[in-house]
Structure formats: structure tokens, C-alpha cells
């Protein structure tokens, strides 16, 4: 499903973000990327939805290199990838319904379908009663659910998450993790950057540990740092 070989990434100013990354992730896997801040977790996530490009190396998704894509292919890649961020990135001047509907509008769904799909997803993520609320009126957990709804509304085969529980308390984190698990059970490949030791230890998934831009461990179960 996802293959990276000899991937290097340096940001402007010369700081090395990733060094010689080689990894393979199977279809339907649930993978944690762990490591301290600055280890390169976010950069790895960004590479996968082409927010940044590597200096060298190759990245394949579903057998296709994503290094040289034209605009159309980039759009297609992103439509097949749901992304959830630590800071939610909701639009403050739009309601919950509008935030989620926005993703479908952008994907050019007809309005009749948008009206049908959005309430279903909000229902499933247990935020249907907040449909008319604005993000600032919601708790952190609720905001992250809205962001999650927006990411998964068109059932992407890949879900990327960058510290999704970073701003949430343990109980809310667990609720959110259940959602990731649900979509993973339904076949989505989930790749989540986190430094939440508790979650990683409780769920026993494959863990890829990074330090200073290099992979220092890759095995199933347990915290590797």
C-alpha cells in the first residue's frame, strides 16, 4: 500500500527532518509513528499527503510514485486521504454542519447528497446535536470529532493523523481512538503520529519509532522509546 525508500527531507535553514527512511505499510494496517517533538513524525505525515516533497528517495502509494504528480493527480491523492490535525483546523465562522459539508462541497457532491450524508456522519460520530453550533462553542473532544468527520466523510482508504489526541484529556482521547479503530476495522489504513505513551501501550499496534529523523525501531506492540 505505502512504500518509502531512501527518503530524505531537509527544511530550509538546513535542519534535517528525515534521513534515509525506508518502510512498508500494508493495506488496512494501523501504525503509530512515535518519537519526541522534532523527531520527524509530522514531516513523514506531510510527505504522505504531499504537503511537502522529499529531497530525494521515492514514495509509492498503491503502487504509484507520488513524487511527480500533476495538479489533477495531487487532488486525487488528497481525496483518497483523510487528514486529522492536533489543532483541529476547523473554520471558525462556519457551523459544525457547514464545516463537514464543506468537504463534500469541495469534492463537488451535489447538494441533495450533501444534505443526506452529513447528518448521517454527524449521527455516527455522536455530534448530531451540535450541527448548528460553531467550533468555539464545542469542547476539544467535540471539535476533534468534527475534524474527524470532515476527514472521513468520503470514506478515504488512508487516514493520516498528526497528534490527534494532543489537546484532549484521556477519556476524550479514548473515545476518539475508538473512532479510528472503527474506520480501521472497516478497511482504512491508519497512520497516526503521537507521543501519547498510554494510548500506544494500550492498543498494541505496530509502532515505528523515530529519533532525529531516523527510524530507530519498528515492531508490533509496546512503546519503543
Amino acid at each position: 500500500m505505502i512504500d518509502m525508500s531512501n527518503v530524505y527531507k531537509t527544511y530550509e535553514g538546513g535542519s534535517l527532518a528525515l534521513k534515509d527512511i525506508n518502510l512498508h505499510i500494508d493495506n488496512g494496517e494501523f501504525v503509530y509513528l512515535t518519537g519526541q517533538s522534532g523527531a520527524g513524525k509530522s514531516t513523514l505525515i506531510k510527505l504522505l499527503f504531499r504537503e511537502v516533497l522529499p529531497d530525494s528517495g521515492q514514495i509509492f502509494i498503491a503502487g504509484r510514485s507520488i513524487i511527480r504528480l500533476n495538479n489533477k493527480e495531487t487532488v486525487k491523492l488528497r481525496r483518497n486521504t483523510g487528514v486529522v490535525f492536533q489543532d483541529f483546523r476547523l473554520m471558525e465562522n462556519k457551523t459544525v454542519f457547514e464545516n463537514v459539508a464543506f468537504a463534500l462541497k469541495v469534492l463537488e457532491y451535489p447538494w441533495s447528497e450533501v444534505k443526506e450524508i452529513v447528518p448521517q456522519v454527524l449521527q455516527r460520530l455522536k455530534i448530531a446535536d451540535k450541527a448548528d453550533a460553531f467550533p468555539r462553542q464545542l469542547s476539544g473532544g467535540e471539535q476533534q470529532r468534527v475534524a474527524f468527520a470532515r476527514a472521513v466523510i468520503n470514506n478515504p482508504p488512508i487516514i493520516l493523523a498528526d497528534e490527534p489526541t494532543g489537546n484532549l484529556d484521556p477519556d476524550t482521547s479514548d473515545e476518539l481512538m475508538k473512532l479510528f479503530q472503527e474506520f480501521n476495522d472497516e478497511g482504512a489504513t491508519v497512520i497516526m503520529a503521537t507521543h501519547d505513551k498510554r494510548i500506544v501501550n494500550e492498543t498494541r499496534k505496530r509502532v515505528i519509532a523515530l529519533r532525529k529523523g531516523e527510524i530507530i525501531g519498528d515492531k508490533v506492540g509496546g512503546w519503543l522509546l
Binding site: 487532488v75 488528497r78 481525496r79 469541495v106 463537488e108
Partner: protein, 294 residues
């Protein structure tokens, strides 16, 4: 892009223009000013063109006759002039009549006339040409005739008029380019503001996989809307001022002919709306190119 997507895109420019009312007004005003001046110059040039024909056809050749020739010689000369190719009419002006015409021209300065004891003017013919191009050949032929003292015609005046028209045209073009340029810049600043205001939306659009067209079109439409708004206002202003000018001048400047109001209406509306649209599209294209990283 799907047809149904326009449902999402079309309302965006209106929302955005409402958000930055100040800048919107500034940009629209610049377009109005630009297009208003363009319109005024276009009308000026087309009226000059129209009158150029009239003025040219009024070109006359003055043929002054030698003093002391007899009636027979006079008749021969008259017939010879009338027989020249390209001559439309020949009118005899006696020296007394000539003086009268002159005193009409310099009506108020009777003192000058009083200072002249004797009439210095010779008898003359006023020859009108069928077309301006024939004036020179007539002058040529007449000056070769006997008993002709001198030939005068509007030397240089046609050339002067044409150079004046060219001057007006290049001044107009220069001004239009300059103003058009500033309109494009102001529109692009306006669009840049709305790009800034919608930065997070654009981010989210990219994350969820919006096509470039979907991201860009609202801004292009916004620019076009600014341009068309400006064009519409300018068009109304131009038509109103032309109407007023016609009302004012038609009665007083009867010797000039004006392009009629009816002839002006459609080209003005079409031209100015289209020009506004293009200015707007250019402005937003610049802003989008510079500030939306798709």
C-alpha cells in the same frame, strides 16, 4: 468542474465583497474612473472623426483676381475655373462684398476698418471642391490661369486638425493604459485581501482535495464582478453626461454634427461592461497567481 459545483462557487464572490466593503468601493471607483475617461475619450474621438468629414468638405479655395481686367476676361476666367475637374461650386465675391464679409468677421474691431481708407481687397472667387483630395489639384490648375493674382486655401489646417486628432487619441490611449493599470492593481489588492481572509478555508480545501478550479474560480469571479460593477456605473455616467452635453451643445454649435445618443448607447454598454470584466479578470488572475499556492 461539475455544473452543480457552481452552486457552491457563485455565492462566494458576493459574500467576499461584502466582507471588505471599503476596498470593494475603492476598487470599483477606480474602475469607474478608468472606464469613464475611456468612454469620454472614445466619444470625443468618434465625434472628431464625424466632424472631420464635414470640416474637410468645407475646404474652400480663394482665387483673387487681377485688378483692372475687363468683363470678357472675367467671364473667360470664371468659365475656366468652373470647368476644372473636382470643382463643386464657384461664387463671385466682389471687393465690396469681401470687405463686408471681413467686417462681419472682425465685427467689434470697427476701428481697424476705419483706419483703412481704401478697400485693399481684390475681387475674388470662392471655389468649393467636391472632395478634400481635389483641393490641391484645383489650386494647381487655377494658379496657372491668366489674370489670377493669388490663390489661397486652408494650407496646413487639415494637417493641423489631423495631428490634433492624433494627439487626442494618443493622450486618450496613454491615460487609458495608465488608469487601466491602476485599476488592475487595485482589483488585485482587493482579491489579495479576500484570499487572506479565506486562508484557512483554502488550506482546508487543499487537505480535502479541492480541484484548483474550485479554489481559484471564486476569486476570479470576484474580480470580474468588481470590474462589471465599475463598468456599469461608468457606463451610466458616460451616457448621462453625453446626453447632457448633447442637450447643451446641439442648439449652440449648429455647424458641428454629433454622433447621436442612440448610436452611442449599445456600444457604450457592451464595450464598458466587457472592458470592466477584462480588467477584473486580469486583476484577480494576478492576485491568485501570486497568493494562492495551489
Amino acid at each position: 468542474m461539475k455544473l452543480s459545483s457552481w452552486r457552491y462557487i457563485l455565492p462566494e464572490p458576493f459574500i467576499s465583497l461584502r466582507r471588505n466593503v471599503g476596498m470593494t468601493i475603492a476598487a470599483v471607483m477606480t474602475v469607474v474612473l478608468t472606464l469613464y475617461l475611456c468612454g469620454v475619450f472614445a466619444l470625443l474621438v468618434s465625434n472628431i472623426n464625424q466632424n472631420a468629414d464635414v470640416l474637410e468638405s468645407a475646404v474652400e479655395v480663394k482665387v483673387f483676381i487681377e485688378d483692372g481686367i475687363n468683363q470678357e476676361q472675367m467671364d473667360t476666367l470664371s468659365a475656366a475655373v468652373k470647368g476644372l475637374p473636382g470643382v463643386a461650386s464657384v461664387q463671385y465675391v466682389s471687393r465690396t462684398k469681401g470687405l463686408e464679409q471681413m467686417s462681419e468677421k472682425f465685427g467689434s474691431s470697427e476701428e481697424i476698418l476705419a483706419a483703412i481708407d481704401t478697400n485693399p481687397l481684390p475681387n475674388s472667387y470662392t471655389v468649393k471642391a467636391e472632395s478634400p483630395e481635389q483641393v490641391l489639384s484645383i489650386v494647381d490648375a487655377v494658379s496657372k490661369l491668366e489674370n489670377v493674382q493669388a490663390v489661397r486655401y486652408g494650407q496646413g489646417s487639415i494637417e493641423k486638425m489631423f495631428s490634433f486628432m492624433n494627439w487626442v487619441r494618443s493622450l486618450g490611449t496613454g491615460l487609458m493604459v495608465l488608469l487601466g493599470f491602476s485599476a488592475v492593481i487595485l482589483i488585485s489588492m482587493n482579491i489579495r485581501l479576500s484570499v487572506e481572509a479565506r486562508k484557512e478555508e483554502i488550506q482546508v480545501m487543499k487537505y480535502v482535495g479541492a480541484s484548483n478550479a474550485f479554489i481559484i474560480w471564486p476569486f476570479i469571479l470576484e474580480g470580474m464582478l468588481l470590474g462589471v460593477l465599475g463598468g456599469g456605473v461608468a457606463c451610466i455616467l458616460v451616457l448621462v453626461s453625453y446626453r447632457a452635453m448633447l442637450d447643451l451643445l446641439l442648439s449652440s454649435l449648429t455647424f458641428l454634427s454629433f454622433v447621436s445618443f442612440g448610436q452611442v448607447v449599445l456600444p457604450a454598454i457592451g464595450g464598458m461592461l466587457l472592458f470592466g470584466l477584462l480588467l477584473g479578470a486580469a486583476g484577480s488572475a494576478i492576485a491568485v497567481h501570486k497568493h494562492v499556492n495551489v
